[in-house]
């Protein structure tokens, strides 16, 4: 068989969608429901969390020889994400003196299979930060443009939460929120006593059933493993499956899209070319429109690799902004031991897969020395033990008196140590800030001139450095964490991160929220897409992942990806009906 033979399926599809995560899944769902013939291309394999072939939910740590350690999966053996920051044969590079870690999930549904399901709407201010602070970039749309779509996403997918009327934290159409766990009540009481709000979290998990296709949550705390009841949101279970039931979707797994094909005469897309990851054959798919949803990094890579004589700097890139302004959430964290929680009564407090409460951004940046906010996520409680359990006890047990009141030095062995582990179980809490960075032109990804992946596709080279804005924000996080820990009578663990390590600010890419590489805007000279996420340069090319976002708010972006993908998909349908494309 000639590996370079090019296969051409006879069909021409209405739309080719690249990527099956939040953006691609929603586009496939919306377009297929409207009757469009869709081909959905996913680089990874098929995945269904209800198929025993794939189930990791409700497994015990001893069912893994490494007890769930993260040797081959970054978040552990039972995590649903196939892939990670390093994938064999799929390298990326970083420019000297800069750092970026690029997490990829190669599977149906992409990174929505293991994410935290934190489903926050952007608030009105999140669309106009430049106007408010002078730095960054405004969006070409505002909250009112997206609100109807957020509402529909809430109803279609399901999200729990509570009506709070909190500034810049719009309420949604919520399912009931689960009650806080014990440590969450303690955090709330402590934090509120020092003026820091703590409210029910907003996660896309079904605390009540919303339709016949999906079950409701059975409180195992394992959303990150994929839910066999489909009671949480992942694009594969909640969008792609019903989209396929319409009969209008052709799903092709193992399709690593290499290039968007354009007609040199018209400059319009005619389809995409992909490498079949099993056979390594090159396949071309014809489509009347192309929708990119490959993730901020992959979408930029695909556009930059789709060079032609008509588009010498890559597709949709006459502005030169493709790849620029990449920005990930900031992240910093601290954990603590809460002596009051020692020797706890045991009961099942697994709850949902994540925190039941969180802290939205509550301060005014005008009064601070950094221009953007952050929210705080919390963890703790009597969770299922996994690899790492008990690690580092020597730094703690010297501070805590034994049952008989006696003190011993940290570390130890024997019956006393064994008892310490029992007594300390469930007495730890942790918190992490997730903040908004200022998108900078100097942070960008580009095609590495020297490196290709195993499919022969040129790879991305990242150039990313945090600025002083983000470092100062991380400092504020660390101060806040200590205040919260002390307010609840906790002992902060480890050294407080200081200036020498940028206050514990995680390296770019570690929070896996990167956005912004083909941003939308009204000016084609400074943006790749218009306000409907349609390429300024190519009217039948759309981007429905977070590559389109000029900024990312102090929120997680998935809910905004879903709402904007629905909006863009309906715009596409409308434009086809009006015969504009």
């Amino acid at each position: 068989m000639d590996p370079f033979q090019i296969q051409k399926p006879p069909t021409q599809f209405d739309v080719a969608i690249v990527g099956s995560g939040a953006g691609g899944g929603m586009a496939a769902y919306t377009l297929a429901k409207a009757g469009a013939k869709v081909v959905l291309l996913e680089a990874g394999g098929y995945y269904d969390p209800a198929d025993p072939k794939y189930i990791t939910q409700l497994k015990w740590p001893w069912e893994s020889p490494r007890r769930g350690a993260g040797t081959t999966r970054a978040f552990g053996d039972f995590d649903a994400a196939w892939g990670g920051w390093d994938i064999e044969g799929e390298p990326y590079t970083t420019a000297k003196g800069t750092e970026f870690h690029w997490f990829r999930s190669r599977m149906l549904g992409g990174r929505t299979n293991h994410w935290g399901r934190i489903s926050l709407r952007f608030g009105p201010d999140d669309f106009r930060r430049k106007s408010m602070t002078g730095v960054g970039q405004d969006w070409p749309i505002g909250y009112d443009d997206l609100k109807p779509f957020y509402d529909r996403v809430d109803r279609l997918i399901g999200v729990f939460g509570s009506v709070e009327n909190f500034p810049n934290e719009p309420d949604g159409i919520f399912l009931p929120a689960p009650k806080p766990r014990l440590h969450e009540l303690m955090i709330r009481k402590g934090a509120r006593s020092i003026g820091i709000p703590v409210i029910p979290s907003r996660l896309s998990m079904l605390t009540k059933p919303i339709n016949d296709e999906r079950g409701s949550c059975f409180y195992c705390a394992q959303c990150g493993r994929g839910c066999q009841a489909y009671a949480d949101f992942s694009s594969s279970s909640v969008l792609v499956k019903p989209a396929m039931k319409t009969g209008n979707v052709t799903l092709i797994n193992g399709a690593m899209v290499r290039e968007v094909i354009t007609d040199p005469a018209t400059g319009l897309c005619t389809g995409v070319s992909y490498v079949d990851t099993q056979t390594l054959q090159e396949v071309t798919i014809k489509a009347k429109s192309v929708v990119l949803a490959a993730s901020a990094g992959e979408t930029a890579r695909l556009l930059l690799n789709s060079k032609s004589s008509r588009f010498p700097t890559g597709l949709a890139n006459s502005s030169g902004v493709v790849g620029k302004y990449i920005n990930d959430s900031t992240g910093a964290s601290r954990s603590a031991f809460v002596p009051a929680l020692m020797d706890r009564k045991r009961y099942n407090e697994d709850g949902v897969g994540g925190m039941h409460v969180f802290t939205p951004w509550w301060l005014d940046n005008k009064k601070l020395d950094f221009p953007r906010g952050y929210h705080i996520e919390y963890w703790g409680g009597m969770g299922m033990p996994a690899y790492g359990f008990g690690w580092g006890v020597e730094a703690l047990n010297g501070m805590i008196a034994a049952r008989d009141g006696s003190k011993k030095p940290g570390g130890g062995y024997g019956a006393g140590l064994k008892d310490d582990y029992r007594r300390f179980y469930g007495a730890y809490v942790g918190m992490a800030g997730r903040g908004e960075p200022v998108p900078l032109e100097s942070n960008y990804c580009e095609i590495d001139p020297n490196v290709v992946d195993k499919y022969g596709i040129p790879v991305l080279r990242f150039n990313y450095k945090w600025s002083d804005y983000e470092v100062k924000q991380a400092k504020h996080m660390q101060d806040t964490f200590e205040e919260i820990i002390h307010s609840m009578g906790g002992i902060a663990l480890g050294e407080k991160p200081g200036a020498d390590n940028s206050y514990g600010l995680e390296a770019p890419g570690k929070i896996i929220h990167e956005v912004g590489t083909s941003r939308m805007g009204n000016d084609p000279k400074t943006s790749a897409l218009n306000k409907f996420q349609q390429a300024h340069d190519v009217k039948n090319l759309f981007v429905v992942d977070a590559a389109a976002f000029p900024s990312q708010g102090d929120k997680n972006v998935t809910w905004t990806i879903l709402a904007s993908s629905m909006r863009t998909s309906e715009y596409l349908i409308d434009q086809v009906k009006k015969k504009n494309i």
Binding site: M186, A340, R346, W391, G410, G412, Y421, Y425
Partner: protein
């Protein structure tokens, strides 16, 4: 060697050819039985696990040392069994292969322990009396108090303690001991009343009567 064979050898090596005839350079793949991939694992993971399971890292002496140490760290008591009864030595053996960065600290640590015991008691650690073993462990079990000639041993013992605790409390015996009762379908209806009372906490009205 026949002349023709030696010429052949020359042609492959002496003339600096990097690649010989393709059929020779690429041996046929070995005839392996197809691997059954357990549920929830990717193929490459199942293959990797099978390969690691088939390898051995510890010598019998090392495994014996790890077993004795793990039972000193987590002995049996009235509530549950010991580390070795919970399968901790086999878990540590696997982790050495799974995360090779721990191999040198572990193997070297065992050597350090034997060297030090030989100096102190004239015997390797596992041959020492129980009292001598405990006397040795006392020197390295409290990192902040370890004397200057014991600090490397303290680092090794910390690694052993951490691996032992992780292995024990992720085993069936350890999880039962700990009293973890989750990982099963259920309903979460909040912290039990007696626990709320114990901590002087209460739910808000809207949490008790949602929808009001």
């Amino acid at each position: 060697m026949k002349r023709r064979d030696s010429l052949k050898a020359l042609s492959l090596t002496g003339f600096g050819l990097a690649v010989g005839p393709t059929e020779a350079a690429v041996p046929a793949p070995p005839d392996v039985k197809p691997l059954k991939i357990p549920g929830g694992r990717q193929k490459f993971e199942a293959e990797r696990d099978a390969k690691l399971m088939a390898e051995k890292f510890f010598t019998p002496h090392e495994l014996q040392t790890v077993t004795v140490l793990s039972d000193i760290i987590i002995p049996a008591d009235e509530r549950s069994g010991s580390a070795s009864q919970a399968g901790v030595p086999a878990f540590i053996e696997f982790m050495m292969k799974d995360q090779p960065r721990n191999q040198t600290p572990m193997r070297g640590g065992i050597r350090w322990l034997d060297n030090t015991c030989t100096k102190r008691y004239g015997k390797q650690f596992v041959q020492c009396t129980k009292a001598q073993q405990i006397d040795m462990v006392e020197q390295i079990a409290y990192p902040a108090l370890a004397k200057p000639d014991m600090t490397q041993g303290a680092s090794f013992f910390t690694l052993m303690r951490n691996l032992t605790a992780s292995g024990f409390f992720t085993s069936q015996i350890g999880i039962k001991d700990l009293g973890y009762v989750g990982n099963t379908p259920n309903q979460w209806n909040g912290v039990p009343d007696d626990v709320l009372k114990q901590y002087g906490l209460a739910y808000e009205e809207r949490e008790l009567n949602p929808g009001k």
